[in-house]
C-alpha cells in the first residue's frame, strides 16, 4: 500500500449535536469494520458518536477547507481500556471495509527509526484536514496508569488537539506500530491556559502507545 492511500482508512471522529457534528479526534481501521481511537476522544460514551466519511481518495488530492458539509457513519464502542487509553469502535453499516495494512508493535522500531503519522490537527477549531507528519522515534518508554505499565514510544514532533487516535506507521513495511495518545506533560500541567492551550504541552515529546495492545482487544 502506498502511504497516500491511507486517506481511506483514517477518519475523523465526531459527535452529532443539534448544532452539527463536533469533531473529537482521529480513528483508523484495525480490522473488518472496526476502528481504533483513544478512550479520551470518545469520553467513554458512544451516544451519537460517528466517523466522518473522507472526501478524498488520496492525500495527493486537495482538501477543501471551505466545505463544511460532512457525511458520517454511526459507530459504537465495542471494547475499551481506560488504562491504556484505547477504544475499539464498530461501524454500524452494512458494507465491509478492512485495513490495507497490518498492526505490529513498538517492539519493531527503535530510536532514530523514521515513522509517519496521520491525523486531524486543530480539529478543536473545526478544521477537517487529514495531515501526514513524518518524524523519528525519540525514545521507547514504559508509562504507568494506576500502577499498570504499558509500552510507548516518543515521537520527535509537536502534536495538536484532534490528532489523538491517529495511527503511526513504520514506512519500511507499512505496518501500524502504535497510536498517538497525547504529549508529555509534567504532573498537573503548567497551571496556565492561554487561548485553550497549556503551554507545557507545546513541545516535541509526543506519546504513542504500542499497537500490540490494540491487537489484544480485537
Amino acid at each position: 500500500m502506498l502511504l497516500q492511500y491511507v486517506a481511506g482508512s483514517v477518519f475523523a471522529v465526531g459527535r452529532v449535536t443539534p448544532n452539527g457534528v463536533n469533531l473529537l479526534g482521529t480513528a483508523f481501521l484495525v480490522a473488518k469494520n472496526k476502528l481504533a481511537t483513544t478512550k479520551h476522544v470518545t469520553g467513554g460514551s458512544d451516544s451519537n458518536l460517528v466517523i466522518i466519511i473522507p472526501k478524498i481518495q488520496s492525500l495527493y488530492d486537495y482538501q477543501d477547507t471551505t466545505d463544511s458539509k460532512v457525511s458520517f457513519i454511526n459507530v459504537k464502542i465495542s471494547e475499551i481500556d481506560p488504562f491504556k487509553d484505547i477504544c475499539i469502535l464498530t461501524l454500524e453499516h452494512k458494507g465491509e471495509i478492512s485495513p490495507p495494512y497490518v498492526l505490529s508493535s513498538t517492539d519493531s522500531i527503535h530510536p532514530g527509526s523514521p515513522v509517519v503519522t496521520f491525523g486531524f490537527p486543530h480539529a478543536d477549531h473545526g478544521r477537517l484536514v487529514l495531515t501526514q507528519q513524518d518524524t523519528n522515534v525519540g525514545a521507547k518508554v514504559l508509562i504507568e496508569s494506576s500502577g499498570i505499565k504499558s509500552k510507548h514510544i516518543v515521537l520527535n514532533t509537536l502534536a495538536r488537539p484532534g490528532q489523538s487516535g491517529g495511527p503511526v506507521f513504520n514506512p519500511s513495511n507499512m505496518s501500524v506500530v502504535g497510536m498517538l495518545v497525547g504529549a508529555y506533560i509534567p504532573q498537573g500541567g503548567s497551571g496556565v491556559i492561554i487561548a485553550g492551550i497549556d503551554p507545557a504541552s507545546l513541545h516535541q515529546t509526543t506519546h504513542v502507545i504500542s499497537a500490540e495492545y490494540i491487537k489484544e482487544m480485537l
Partner: protein, 153 residues
Amino acid sequence: MITLEEFIRQDINWLNALPEYQRKSIQQLLDQGKTYEEAAVIWLSANGPSNTHPFGTQNTKSIFFEKLLEEVESFFCRDDKYIEEKKQLLTQFKAGDVYVLTFISTAISPIVGASAPLIAPAIALILMTILRMGLNAWCSLRREIKQNSTQQS
C-alpha cells in the same frame, strides 16, 4: 423462575465474564491490594497513561462511581426500577455470565451516560461485593449509607 436473590447467590466469579485484556488489568489492581470497590473507582476514573496531555478536542472526564453504584442499587434493590429488564434477565440467566453482565451493563449504560464496555468491569466488581455480602445485606448497607448522608446534609 429463579428470584433475583437466588440469582445473585450463585457462585460466579464475575471477573471471568470480562474480556481478557480487562480482566488482566483488574486483576493487577486486586493484586496491588485494592478492594473490589477501590478497583472499580480506579477503573472508571482512569484516563490513560500518566503525565500525558491528551490531544482529543474535548477530553471529557470519566463518570462518577457513585452514579453507577446508585443505578446498580436501583437494579438489584428496588422493585419499581428496571422491571422489564429484570424479568427478562431472570428468564435468560442460563445464557451465561458474559450474557448477564452485558445485559446489565447495557441496561444501565444510557442512564449513567457511558458505554456498556466501559462500565461492565465496574459492575462485575460491584457484583463480586454483593456476592460476598449477600444481596439483602448489601441493599441494607446502601440504604444506611444514603440515610446517613441525607441526615448529614
